[in-house]
């Protein structure tokens, strides 16, 4: 148990400084000083260029649910690193619980630039510009 917690904390720490893509317009859309860590159920994964989008349903303390959208690296980056459409479709079908972390949108809307994704097993990290875990 302690190992798992430490690993997740370590993972989050790494996500905070995870290398971003040399993103063109990052600072005009997202506020790097407001980093969000959100855990929720994957409800949709839009496999689109120039950036894909992962939608998670976050349950708030009062029981209400909020839909958050995480922008990801481009489809081609995901694909090169071993992500496939069937894989993300399965995450949606299963309603997998994931944790996203990244800077919040400057306009206050429910968007983040997701620098990384921790999957349901808690100890596995997917840097979104890295490969998915061996299955």
């Amino acid at each position: 148990m302690r190992l798992k917690i430490v690993a997740v904390v370590a993972a989050l720490g790494l996500l905070a400084t995870a290398p971003l893509l040399a993103h063109h317009s990052f600072s005009a859309e997202y506020d790097s000083s407001k980093v969000l860590t959100l855990t929720g159920k994957v409800t949709q994964f839009d496999w689109v260029n120039p950036h894909s989008w992962i939608y998670i349903e976050v349950t708030n303390p009062d029981g209400t649910k909020t839909l958050w959208k995480g922008e990801t690296p481009p489809v081609n980056v995901l694909y090169r690193n071993g992500w496939t459409k069937p894989m993300t479709e399965e995450m949606v079908i299963k309603g997998e619980i994931v944790t996203l972390r990244g800077p919040a949108a400057k306009d206050g809307s429910n968007h983040i630039f997701s620098q990384g994704l921790i999957r349901e097993d808690g100890v596995t990290i997917l840097g979104l510009n890295g490969p998915p875990p061996e299955k």
Binding site: R2, L3, V6, A7, A10, A11, G13, L14, A16, T17, P19, L20, L21, A22, H23, H24, S25, F26, S27, A28, E29, Y30, D31, S32, S33, K34, V35, L36, T37, L38, D46, V48, N49, P50, H51, S52, W53, V58, T66, P74, V75, N76, V77, Y79, R80, N81, G82, A104, A105, K106, D107, G108, S109, N110, H111, I125, G127, N129, G130, P131
Partner: protein, 323 residues
Amino acid sequence: MRYRSFRLTILVAGFALVLLLAQLLFSQPPAQNPGGQGARGGGRGGVPAPPAGPVRRTAEGKPDLTGYWIGATKTNINNGRGGIINPDTGMPDGKIPYKPEWEAKAADTAKNHMFDEPYAHCLPAGIPTNLGLQFGFQIVQDKNTLAWGWDTVGATRLIYLDNRKHVPDSIKLYQGDSIGHWEGDTLVVDTTSQTAGWWDASGAVHSDAVHVVEKFTPKDENTIAYEALVEDPVALTRPMTVTDTLRRNGITNVPLAFKNRPAGYEQTETACVEGERDTALYTESGGGFAKDGVPGQAAPPGAVSSPPPRGGGGRGRGGPPQQ
């Protein structure tokens, strides 16, 4: 007992950190991959490339530039690391020789008008800008044309090799109008008629009076020495020379998805217009249309944090955009 398990925990956490760091470092772009003519090399970074063979040739004996290529990513070309030749020293650590009013325009663009970046609107980036954007490009070369395709925006470019005339000046093209010819083993390409645009992804604006002469000189099978003489009489005090080294994409580091394919790496389709949603997120302070709000206002308590100041080290490439 307690002390021992604490030490073990630290050990494991440290090991996990090292593994994760290694994974992140090795998974960074660019994917180094073979040109479309057979995989070679393999293995992740650290495996030495086999010695490069001689320049590939077409049936007519010209250098054959067909394949996947990648140069330096120049998010900010004006930071002394953009390959611009400093005319006083001859070193590639120079800056853009802006006229004062255009220097001011560029600074204002970077601060207040990032929304105007062509890439954000799925527009091709222009020449040589497109060569400095991430993820590389492909060239298919026959006797009439060099047909290019980029990963970013899925942009294209056609270089015509028959010494034809340029299009009239009144036509403006995002990628310009490119006519090429061979001088020995160097492909010389003359480009006119570019729209106004940016030299990079950080607001280095240019006018539509740009004229570019590029020289592609293959050094060996996998390397091209690249040089672009750029004139912009409206924005610059003098012409500037931009340099780079283009390497075949995929000699040492085949991405996972292509590792077991005999033909190796392929550049896949980028459908930008139909998937682009970023423009809606640009706020007014960046020249966009969304109202500046409170970032993370709808997040559950505890979800918001401020990251510690960034230390150095540990990353070779990537990181937030250079400013």
